[in-house]
Amino acid sequence: MVTGGLVGANPDQLDELAARMNSGADTLEAVRQAIFLSLRRTEWPGPDGDQFRHDWDHRHARVIATAVTALREAARVLRVNAAEQRGASLDGSGLVPPALFGMVRSALDQVRGFLGAGLASIGYSRGTPSENFAWWSGLTPERRAELIHEYPGLVGSMDGIPAADRDAANRIRLERAVADLPAQVAQLREQLANGQITQEQFNQRALQLAAIRHLHDRLARGEDLYLLGFDPSGEGRAIVAVGNPDTADHVATFVPGMDTTLASVNGHVSNMAALRDMAQSLAPNESTSAILWFDYDAPNGLMEAARATHAEAASENLDGFLDGLRASHVGEPSHNTIIGHSYGGKVVGIADREETLAVDDMIFIGNPDIGVNHASELSVGAGHVYASVAPGDPIELVNIPLVTPAEEGFGSQQFTSHRTEVPDAHSSYFRQNSPAMFNQAAIITGHGEFVY
């Protein structure tokens, strides 16, 4: 949440925030147009319908339009501010006026209120994951299909919606992002040619755009993947399940650490596929789903990772997602595990402290501190907290004031990652065949007795 002046802010972050604001504006505008069309198509005779149409035309639609304008204006000012800071000529004139952010906040509050009440009145709902599931279950298949196509952004990000339907909605968003790639690439080249971005920034963004196509092609190949979340703006976000979590006996959710971007997603998905493979080999009678959950703004670099702000901001999203897994699961509750790697462990620890995560076991690998000092402070209880740090993992060299999960005093069940030092130790926890992989497979399938 932006809180005021931006003296000294990182210009890249300002640009990213601007991109997110523009993306939000696009989404709101799309919702406004979709509702407009729906209202025109929906037969709703009588005074209630008349009243709603009147309210929509004279109040709600205008509120959204105001919010769209405010977001776009704020984004424009942020870009100006970023450009001025890059030019090292900041003299205060580039500061974002606090009044502008006040306007954005106010407009968004009104939109939020409208989306809660207004959308519900025409059949949409956005409640708790359980309420979302109940609402969705009450719709006809035709209505669900209609909503998926008309509101892929809403359906695709709504916790509690079944995985297959979220996947269908997010694939529409992914298709749109792929269709937009040529324009994005052209814009990037133009920015590079005009000196608006550096070659390094160009390369980073180009990698992210390539990753969007790679993810698209991979999903199109028919792998057993479910796209449970997708946002191409900024550094991007994605939630990808290998195997259907709604029908699996065991569900593992992996939270990656700092420097994660869309460009990292495909590698992490491959590792989730390998983890699932190992799990199903150990317990062939039971099914497993392994999920990459990258729905937070991961810190860039150690300076940002030293702070808890990114983790605190992620808590609500992670909690809602895990509650959604419980809500949409078919039959007996699955055995659910959360895995936090590096800074991802801090996301897990803080989210559990703040929200109490709906999981049965927790795994922490290669972590700094995780926001709690002892395993018994976590909701699953010390007997269900597993931790490891690989020999040679440089995370051990970081000066951390709190107890880390793999330390003796933390009270976790420690397991072996590697017997000896391996290259790239901090990223080695999903190396095929490694003790780390074997042990995680045993934990996520509920076979703690195999862990060593």
Binding site: S427, Q432, F438
Partner: protein, 132 residues
């Protein structure tokens, strides 16, 4: 670790290691299984992967089979990375002395023996690309 080897060559080598290990346990019924590649995340430049192969070995005494593999592999100079044959995990992990592939023999909850072989990190294009 990264190594100049093509993906196809690594797949062939992984399959050959797995089949050679299974052959030590003859007579046995051997079934091959495809295994997904895993990613070597954070290895620079990006895109490095590890490929793998697996065989299931049926119709053998799994305890005796693990002992047989241990004896052969130690005799051939394989590096013992983890020997958990005696524990609940019933698993043995070794490193091939020539090419750095890892071989894991393990027994699952159905008392079935599998041998999984994985390559070191490599780039799909073969030789290590420059970081430029």
């Amino acid at each position: 670790m990264t190594t100049p080897m093509t993906v196809d060559e690594a797949r062939r080598r992984a399959a050959a290691h797995a089949e050679a290990a299974a052959a030590l346990l003859a007579p046995a019924v051997v079934e091959s299984q495809e295994v997904p590649d895993s990613a070597c995340v954070d290895v620079v430049p990006p895109g490095a992967i590890s490929v793998a192969a697996r065989v299931w070995v049926r119709g053998v005494d799994v305890g005796a089979a693990l002992t047989r593999l241990y004896e052969q592999w130690t005799g051939d100079g394989y590096e013992i990375l983890d020997d958990r044959r005696a524990g609940p995990a019933r698993t043995l992990l070794v490193g091939h002395p020539g090419d750095g592939f890892w071989l894991r023999a393990s027994v699952n909850v159905r008392d079935e023996l599998m041998i999984t072989v994985s390559s070191p990190c490599l780039w799909p294009g073969g030789s290590t690309p420059s970081a430029d």
